[in-house]
């Protein structure tokens, strides 16, 4: 049993630094907004520092196995442990989270949303960070569930208190949807606990076990519970309707966190828990996951074309983009899952950036109605170009990050794992490829209507419309650099995730998951 006493304090520190910062901030009086902003920023920078150290110290030659592993008793009665660790699959997502949060706090420096109260807002954000990082490092189902749920409340309040006009409905919808999914997820976890011989929540053991000893029908049901639980979070069609509302109403920071990290909790759950623990059920469900994924791609894109509100459009685009991620996952191949993880990071950078822009547009124009905007390139040329650049990234332009999530996912669909119907997935491949046309359509159309042309008479002489401000530059530059960097050198992420993904799928072989076996061995031999 590995305890924290050994030289593996890093992950624990990473997870709880934000929470410690939040607790400290409770002591600072509410009126002292500046101190709160400083405290939050310093805390998140500290966390980022730890994450950078993690990136530096991580043993990349051994990316397939869990590192900084801690495994101690936590709730002995139910056998839940404080089990944490990081491998190549979770490392990029932890880094993404640690990167996004300081940017959010930098942005918050001048943009605390109505009705103010920086203290509460920032404390909630820090709790969110703990929840998100915790979810990515947890290696025990109970621990995972707790962190997964810790994320829920702060986001609920963020929307319900700092949201737009329709915040009540949106926040409630978000809360209930997620809770509904969580309930099913928890049941699945419990079922796994009771139905495996070991009677444990330890994810390593459950992964090793890979559903052995559980009747096929039961496996399918347990998987279905997780499917809905994680699927709501992703969100997958038809559980997605909370997303546009939540995004539209959420404050900019909330939208950024939601898009950049929160949605990934769902997809991460699929690749960390659902598939490795129940490979046989995954194989049976794969065509359905794939189907919902490609429906999401087309449906999300069509939804985008119908939008009149910029932020809502970006929200709908998430449905389409996460469709590509889910398609990659549904193939149950190393190519597909690598693409999915890349897609998660890329979507985090790109869509996070788009929501930042939407927030800044709202701040300047006091509206996000596409009809009323226009000519941003004239009045705020740099912002207009950034919007153009990020749109290009979002539509999957090769050379920028978005492409490496999209294309390999489409590629993987040509040749899914052996137990998964190939013909069906080739159909999905074509539909997904058509989705890229629609993506270009709605993004460029958005760009044309908001950035190109002459400014409308309404805003032509508005002194409020200024170009990118220094705080915005600081908050945005890392994202923009990341979009280019990972686009040019995709290996930076693929080489971290690949060993872990290959091993995760290999693990199914030992326990007799036929479909995945043939796919990976073919890949290994190529």
């Amino acid at each position: 049993m590995n305890t924290i006493a050994e030289n593996n304090w890093l992950l624990t520190a990473l997870v709880f630094t934000p929470l410690a910062g939040a607790l400290l901030m409770v002591l600072i009086p509410e009126k002292d907004e500046r101190s709160h902003k400083q405290a939050a920023l310093i805390t998140s920078l500290l966390t980022l520092g730890l994450a950078v150290f993690l990136l530096w110290d991580f043993d990349y030659s051994n990316a397939a196995s869990l590192q900084y592993f801690v495994d101690t008793q936590w709730i002995e009665v139910i056998g839940a442990g404080y089990t944490i660790g990081v491998d190549g699959m979770s490392l990029p997502l932890i880094a993404l989270t640690a990167l996004i949060m300081p940017l959010v706090f930098v942005y918050s420096w001048h943009h605390i949303p109505e009705p103010g109260n920086a203290k509460a807002f920032l404390i909630l954000s820090l709790i969110l960070e703990t929840g998100m990082i915790g979810t990515f490092v947890a290696q025990d189902l109970v621990l995972f569930f707790v962190f997964f749920e810790v994320v829920l409340l702060p986001m609920f309040f963020m929307i319900a208190v700092w949201g737009g006009a329709n915040r009540r409905y949106a926040s409630l919808k978000f809360f209930l949807f997620t809770l509904f999914g969580s309930a099913l997820m928890l049941l699945s976890f419990l079922a796994l606990y009771f139905l495996t011989d070991e009677g444990t929540f330890n994810m390593l053991v459950l992964t090793e076990n890979a559903g052995a000893g559980i009747a096929r029908g039961t496996q399918l049901l347990i998987f279905a519970g997780m499917f809905i639980g994680f699927g709501v979070k992703v969100p997958m069609f038809p559980f997605h309707t909370w997303l546009p509302d939540a995004h539209t109403e959420a404050p900019t920071q909330g939208s950024v966190i939601l898009a950049a990290v929160l949605l990934k909790l769902g997809t991460y759950g699929f690749i960390r828990i659902a598939i490795p623990m129940l490979p046989e059920a995954a194989e049976a469900w794969a065509p359905w996951i794939g189907l919902l994924a490609v429906i999401g791609i087309i449906y999300g894109a069509l939804g985008c074309l119908a939008q009149t509100d910029m932020k809502r459009l970006i929200a709908f685009s998430s449905v389409a983009h996460m469709g590509f991620v889910m398609l990659g996952i549904a193939t149950l191949t190393d190519f597909g899952i690598n693409a999915a993880i890349f897609g998660m990071v890329a979507h985090g950078l790109i869509t996070g950036m788009l929501f930042f822009i939407a927030g800044s547009v709202k701040e300047r124009y006091h509206t996000l109605e596409i009809k009323r905007l226009g000519g941003m390139l004239v009045q705020a040329p740099r912002m207009g170009w950034i919007l153009g650049f990020v749109s290009m990234a979002s539509l999957g332009l090769p050379g920028l990050a978005g492409f490496w999530g999209e294309f390999p996912a489409i590629l993987a669909a040509y040749n899914p794992a052996a137990g998964v119907p190939e013909g069906t997935f080739r159909g999905y491949m074509v539909v997904a490829a058509i989705g890229t046309v629609l993506a270009a359509g709605y993004l460029l159309w958005l760009l044309q209507r908001t950035a190109m042309g002459e400014p409308s008479i309404e805003f032509a002489d508005d002194p409020n419309i200024t170009d990118v401000s220094p705080t915005e530059w600081i908050a945005w530059t890392p994202l923009l650099v990341g979009i280019v960097l990972f686009g040019v050198a995709p290996g930076l992420i693929f080489e971290v995730t690949d060993p872990a993904v290959v091993q995760s799928l290999d693990n199914c072989i030992m326990t007799g998951c036929e479909g995945v076996q043939t796919a990976t061995s073919a890949a290994g031999g190529g």
Binding site: L187, A191, L221, L411, I434, A489, L492
Partner: protein, 741 residues
């Protein structure tokens, strides 16, 4: 340091039979050619505005250096092609591999890894890519110089040069790619540059519309590109490789399933149709003329639009096998090319905008190239790509020079008689037109003649050999030649002859352009004259044999392991003469109409006319209908814009959103409301009815407690949550129990 950063370290490429890693320095390091303009893009972007010439000098310097490097690589290649001997290292020592004379140079480094496989990025240098490097950097340099004058007053001057640099870099990157994944990257990057530069004047909606149309049409083709590449990735080269040479080799060796190649070649053909303006995906190209003229010359005539043709040439085994080119008389590619060359040529006739004439002419000439590849005339197609780049860039830049003087592109309204005002532009334009029309001995004659011979469809005096008997395509090619000569004659008359019709409200006459515009024109028209000599037909008796077929010898990878065994057509004097007569006939007919009849009428009526008042289109119903169809561009844009695009943006998108709001969301809301109702009734029935009754009966509890309870109970969130949670729990629990036991 993490090993991730080892990405940049070079890794070896397994050498196949006709590929080498070590060669002349300029060939090994050809990646510098695209790198320089890429660096200049970044530099111009960040501090171009602060420089003395606002960034243009950086772009020109970078592209000039690229041209020098490319030219050195070209010279090195000439030597390499003839003298390089591939050595094979065995245990016994180093021995020469016999019989291999065409050895490509490939160098690559690791790029990314997935599924345990490492993928590399690298350069593939052979005759084809070296030729493209020289051609692209040369035309790009000339366009850069030209632009310093042409867009000198533009408010986004620096930005314009930044994107010229980026485009040049992307195009050079594309032609050097050694794998098809990298080709996708280059392919899309040139598309983005095209988008940005077409929409350079985005203040006006027609320009941004044109930019969007170009990008979206290309995206439609890209669906084919993605699927085609994926199919090749899995089907060819022993599975799971993007390497161009390995894929080609596998196909040449016959180890790839034919049906996979059919799918791949058809899918890639869709991509070619959009990028290289083939009928029916060509409609974006004429609209792309909304961009500045230097952009039209560089991107939409000489370089980017030939990317599709280049891709076919690069992946020729895929198409040669997939389309079954050999021994046939018809196939999809050749037919698309043939239809495009005629339909495009017809459209060029009815344009009033000089750039649109040239745009449709480009469509038509691209049709020639695709048709040539479709009939197996690889060298002819690539040679035509080469010559066309010069004379078409010449014509576009010439039209820009004219527009610079008259501030319009409308031939009928604002031009006419310009030969008096701009004699130098006139001469270069005439040279370009003659070359385009394919008249002896200019560049276009030689390349067009090779294409016609390559069809193998010439039956007179014994045929020309070739890969099949593509008679239909030969006839289309000849008809196209007549059309080309005719529409260029019309264009020249309307622009330069007759009397000047423009100058409304202007106090100065049109004037000849300055040296930065004229010098590129001189160079290009010079090339339009001599470029054809690069590939004189074999057996051409007027020169020494060592002067014939130089282009084909150095460019075509004959005998290499990655090129199919194609047959080579023999040139035919009789075909050359007949084709020339046909082209001349087109020229003469148009000459008679414009230079004789229209001109005479213009002189008698003292007007500057552009056509006869009682033309065929008015007097003949059929001709009128045909004319109307042409003016409406075969109604394709109507179908696309009012049909497909409008339906997607309108009803389809609205329907999807309606489903979202009224069906899915309704279900969600109804569930929520039902839950609340259930909660209420439970509260009313159980809580108020039973418990309260009990409470009431047993005595009064304090008001405060009751109030608190009520608040908790009616707190909606908790209600919803608890009930939903409970419902889900019960439901799932029931299922598990049923199935588990």
């Amino acid at each position: 340091m993490p090993t991730v950063f080892a990405t940049l370290a070079p890794s070896s490429v397994p050498t196949s039979s006709t590929v080498t890693q070590s060669a002349n320095w300029f060939l090994e390091n050809a990646w510098l050619v695209p790198l320089l303009p890429a660096l200049s893009f970044v530099c111009i972007l960040f501090f171009g505005k602060r420089l003395r010439y606002k960034g243009a000098e950086l772009g020109i310097a970078a592209v000039a250096l690229s041209l020098i490097l490319a030219a050195c690589a070209g010279v090195a290649w000439l030597d390499h092609r003839d003298n390089f001997v591939l050595h094979n290292t065995t245990d016994a020592g180093v021995e020469a591999v016999a019989g291999e004379s065409y050895v490509a140079v490939q160098n690559s480094t690791q790029w990314l890894q997935s599924g345990g496989i490492e993928f590399s990025a690298g350069i593939l240098v052979d005759g084809l890519s070296v030729m493209m490097l020289v051609m692209v950097s040369l035309v790009s340099l000339l366009v850069h110089v030209y632009s310093t004058d042409y867009v000198s007053d533009d408010k986004r001057y620096t930005h314009f040069f930044a994107f010229l640099s980026l485009f040049t870099a992307a195009m050079l990157f594309f032609v050097l790619s050694d794998n098809i994944l990298q080709m996708i990257v280059g392919w899309e990057l040139v598309g983005v540059c095209s988008f940005v530069l077409i929409g350079h004047w985005w203040e006006q909606k027609p320009n941004s519309d044109a930019a969007l149309k170009a990008f979206l049409t290309n995206r439609v083709g890209d669906v084919g590109l993605l699927i085609g590449v994926i199919t090749l990735f899995f089907a060819a080269g022993g599975g799971k490789t993007f390497d161009t040479i390995k894929i080609n080799e596998a196909i040449v060796q016959g180890g790839v399933s034919h049906s996979a190649l059919v799918v791949a070649s058809l899918c890639l053909m869709a991509a070619v149709m959009s990028k290289s303006g083939q009928f029916i995906l060509h409609t974006w190209l004429p609209d792309a003329m909304a961009g500045p003229t230097p952009v039209s010359a560089l991107i939409h005539a000489a370089t980017m639009v030939v990317a599709g043709v280049f891709m076919i040439a690069r992946l020729y085994p895929v198409f040669f096998e997939g389309m079954q080119i050999g021994g046939s008389s018809i196939n999809v590619m050749a037919t698309i090319g043939a239809v495009t060359l005629v339909f495009g040529g017809l459209l060029a006739f009815v344009q009033n905008d000089i750039k649109k004439v040239l745009a449709y002419s480009t469509v038509s000439q691209l049709g020639y190239m695709v048709m040539a590849l479709g009939v197996g005339a690889w060298t002819a197609a690539v040679f035509h790509l080469f010559t066309h780049a010069f004379f078409k860039a010449n014509l576009f830049l010439g039209s820009g020079s004219v527009a610079h003087a008259v501030h319009s592109f409308d031939m009928k309204k604002d031009m006419g008689g310009l030969r008096k005002f701009m004699p130098k532009t006139y001469v270069t334009f005439i040279i370009g037109s003659l070359a385009l029309a394919g008249l002896f001995p200019l560049a276009g004659f030689w390349s067009k003649d090779e294409i016609l011979a390559g069809t193998g469809g010439w039956g007179l005096f014994g045929g020309t050999g070739g890969n099949g008997t593509y008679t239909f395509h030969l006839l289309m090619g000849m008809f196209g030649a007549a059309l080309t000569a005719a529409y260029m004659t019309r264009c020249v008359y309307l622009t330069f002859h007759g009397t000047y019709r423009g100058g409304h409200g202007q106090h100065h006459e049109p004037h000849e352009s300055g040296p930065r515009i004229l010098v590129p024109l001189y160079i290009l028209s010079g090339l339009a004259i001599v470029a054809g000599l690069a590939n004189l037909p074999p057996g051409f008796q007027l020169v020494n044999n060592s002067w014939t077929e130089r282009f084909g010898h150095f460019i075509e990878p004959v005998g290499s392991s990655y090129f199919p065994k194609i047959a080579h057509a023999t040139p035919s004097w009789s075909l050359a003469v007949v084709a020339s007569v046909v082209a001349l006939f087109g020229a003469v007919a148009a000459f008679y109409y414009y230079f004789v009849k229209v001109d005479r009428l213009a002189k008698t009526t003292q007007q500057s006319l552009t056509e006869l008042p009682e033309g065929l289109t008015e007097s003949n119903a059929l001709a009128g209908a045909g004319h109307k169809t042409l003016v409406n561009k075969y109604y394709l844009d109507h179908i696309y814009e009012r049909g497909i695009v409008a339906a997607t943006k309108g009803p389809l998108a609205r329907a999807a959103y309606w489903v979202n709001q009224h069906m899915i969301d309704n279900a969600v809301n109804t569930t929520g409301e039902t839950a609340v109702k259930m909660g209420r009734s439970m509260y009313d029935l159980v809580d108020q009815g039973v418990i309260d009754a009990f409470v009431d009966g047993s005595g009064r509890v304090s008001d405060a407690t009751g109030e608190e309870l009520r608040q908790i109970n009616s707190g909606k969130v908790q209600n919803y949550a608890a009930i939903l949670f409970a419902m889900a729990a019960v439901l799932a629990g029931a299922f598990i129990i049923i199935f588990a036991f």
